[in-house]
Symmetry: none
Subunit: 121 residues, 2 copies
DNA sequence: ATTGACATTTGCCATTTGGCTAATTATAAT
DNA sequence: ATTATAATTAGCCAAATGGCAAATGTCAAT
């Protein structure tokens, strides 16, 4: 799931090696980061952000995205945020237009329903 | 300069040890990061960010990367919400676990990067 | 100046990162 | 299917990170 790029030219026209040369990071290392076997340093993160088209203020999102396989979006973990919205998340979303904000919760709903289907076997 | 904290209680009422416990990072390590003897991993950076009140970009700047500039709330979509988070959206997301909340932001960032690629050619 | 109470830095070292090269695996053509 | 070619993964290991405890530095009162 949590892949930066999919493979070949399926999702994004970027292979590991292409990204590797653009970012100045070895492709083997990128591969391990992709599948969660390694956790990039901030330096590496910054290097790969630009070729991927991430802005500076999205680095944190990228970090969060990379350093955890998207965790059970389905029946999420029982330890909830207690109805609290994470400040970082709030800040990020607040920069988006209202349309995008709404789309985000819509997408989330879709993902949850898909996840439910999948776990229903 | 860009010191996280100044020392004792001179600048900000936060000592290395206080930040250390809040962030879950050793104070000695934080100290070395501050004076540039160590370069934090993305994970460490993320840990430090929240206790400091999400000055993410500042942190990356402190760590020696990125241009040191205030977030510049703009950039991106044409019509902004003026930094406002829609109450409905906030309420929906607040019910999700922290991990999901962050994953949502991560996914959004990825979508934006893909969109950029597509429009770029 | 000395003491006491903290805050910060240093030394040491177990883990982890990240590059290089060699497998392995996928893709495209024959 | 077979082969050629490009992409991803695995093995190895030097270099860097990050924790802990000891050493050092700072400030406030005596």
């Amino acid at each position: 799931m949590g892949k930066i790029i999919k493979r070949q030219r399926v999702m994004v026209p970027l292979t590991l090696k292409e990204l590797a040369t653009k970012a100045g990071v070895s492709s083997s290392h990128l591969g391990r980061i992709e599948r969660g076997e390694r956790f990039p340093s901030a330096r590496t993160l910054v290097k790969i952000a630009k070729p991927l088209g991430f802005e500076e203020n999205e680095l944190f999102a990228l970090a969060g995205y990379l350093s955890r396989q998207i965790p059970a979006i389905a029946e999420g973990s029982p330890e909830y945020s207690g109805g609290q919205l994470d400040p970082f998340v709030a800040r990020m979303l607040a920069q988006e237009s209202l349309e995008v904000q709404r789309a985000v919760v819509g997408i989330l709903a879709v993902l949850k329903s898909i996840a439910r289907d999948m776990s229903a076997k």
